[in-house]
């Protein structure tokens, strides 16, 4: 019983801290553009190069094909951007009604949904091929 009270107290204190964080305005959201994508990749892998990229309309998600055929994923995580690379067979794409869905066999990176008002040709072709290779 005592432990439940302690846990309840912890949860209440956590809620208080998060309320203060919200009131202080720590709600920043990152936006991805082509320049940011290049810079982030250069920081992570100086030798890697982006061949083609597609950025979601809301600027929160981006998908790119690297020159070595790997897939680069960028996702806004609060005010930071999480960057991941996958071998192309590890990514499953579906493009329908200008909405791209990218799935990975990775519990740490859930399926991405991107709204693309003007999906690039390379992405359309890739998704049409079953997402097997870009």
């Amino acid at each position: 019983m005592n432990q439940i009270v302690v846990l309840g107290g912890s949860a209440a204190v956590i809620a208080l801290m998060l309320l203060i964080a919200a009131l202080l305005g720590f709600w920043q959201t990152a936006r991805i553009d082509a320049v940011a994508l290049e810079r982030l990749l250069a920081d992570a892998e100086p030798d890697a190069r982006i061949a083609e990229s597609a950025i979601a309309d809301d600027g929160r998600v981006a998908l790119a094909r690297l020159s070595d055929a790997r897939v680069l994923i960028a996702k806004a995580m609060g005010d930071r951007i999480a960057l991941r690379t996958y071998p192309s067979p590890a990514v499953t794409l579906r493009l329908r009604d200008r909405r791209l869905r990218a799935a990975f066999a990775d519990l740490g990176f859930p399926t991405l949904n991107m709204k693309l008002s003007d999906p690039p040709r390379w992405l359309v072709d890739w998704a049409a091929s079953g997402g097997e290779k870009p």
Binding site: M17, A21, G78, A105, L107, G108
Partner: protein
């Protein structure tokens, strides 16, 4: 029956001469006040930063860690007492023994922490703490849910085998964890000679950084002397600001995904392994190990960076 009581009495560790308080529980109000103070200081000074979603994830992980500690913590304590039965000597609660235990516990922490970065099985629990791309006091509370199930406690078993009382080892472990709370901040730059011996915010920023220069360094708990002794020390360079997180940053704030993503990765790799060698590599090899070398390990990242630096250096 007398023989049984005698055996139990012989097995029992010497009692502490003072009441050991619940150190971490008593420290919690201080944690809360410092977090709130840091939030306000960050807002006013714009040094460091906070993000609501990130802090929510970190604090959720801390709450989950607390729950798992209540559910499973006794297993680790039971292991301490079980091993203690076979101790080499019986050490009592004297000042020399407590000083020795402090150093021994800190050394055990260093090696646990280093192995937790170099071996995937232990990394799967520890990666949670590094998975935030921010560095503030809520990051300090971003703790694993699988520490006990992942057998992290085995690194302290040699101490009770030597003969340090389990309660003494647990006390110094708690002190070490409380000490490490305040070093998770960007608000403190350098601390002069204190940095020669002790773990500090600067040393620990390096530890949390994914810059190739800083990867897998500064494993200290309280004392940085072990990193200096074993060659894993790296100083913070003001010309290269740390980038925080992990090499393969998570794309989720969901605490359940955060807690189990690396374990799921191990499972996926093991079930696709083609040999026992591959299974052992995926479980006990370095994080990022792969049979064909297609993935990146810390060593390969550092080697690539060193080669890049050499190539970029001006010719003499």
């Amino acid at each position: 029956m007398t023989a049984l009581f005698a055996a139990l009495a012989a097995a029992a560790p010497p009692p502490a001469p003072f009441a050991i308080p619940p150190i971490i529980t008593y420290a919690v109000p201080g944690f809360v006040l410092l977090i709130l103070a840091e939030m306000i200081a960050v807002k006013l000074t714009r040094k460091g930063d906070y993000n609501f979603a990130d802090s929510a994830a970190s604090l959720s992980m801390g709450l989950g860690n607390q729950i798992m500690g209540l559910l499973l913590g006794s297993l680790a304590v039971a292991a301490y007492f079980a091993v203690y039965q076979f101790r080499l000597v019986t050490l009592g609660w004297t000042w020399p023994v407590m000083v020795a235990c402090f150093f021994a516990e800190d050394l055990a922490y260093y090696w646990f922490h280093r192995v937790a970065h170099e071996r995937r099985w232990f990394w799967a629990s520890h990666v949670i703490h590094h998975s935030s791309q921010h560095y503030n006091l809520t990051t300090a509370l971003r703790q694993t849910w699988t520490g006990v199930l992942g057998l992290n406690f085995i690194f302290w078993l040699p101490l009770v085998y030597i003969g340090f009382p389990p309660a003494m080892v647990l006390m110094f472990s708690a002190i070490s964890l409380v000490y490490q709370f305040w070093i998770h901040t960007e608000l403190i730059h350098r601390m002069g000679p204190f940095e020669w011996l002790f773990n500090t915010p600067s040393h620990h920023r390096v530890h949390h950084a994914v810059n190739a220069r800083y990867l897998d360094a500064n494993y200290a708990g309280v004392l940085i002397i072990w990193d200096r002794l074993f060659g894993t020390f790296a100083p913070e360079d003001d010309k290269e600001k740390p980038r925080y997180g992990i090499i393969a940053n998570l794309g989720t704030f969901n605490p359940f995904r955060v807690a189990f993503a690396e374990w799921a990765g191990i499972w996926r790799d093991v079930t696709h392994a083609k040999s026992l060698r591959e299974v052992l590599g995926f479980v006990f090899g370095p994080p990022g190990w792969s049979p064909d070398g297609s993935r990146k390990t810390s060593r390969s990242i550092k080697a690539q960076w060193a080669a890049y630096q050499s190539a970029a250096a001006p010719a003499e």
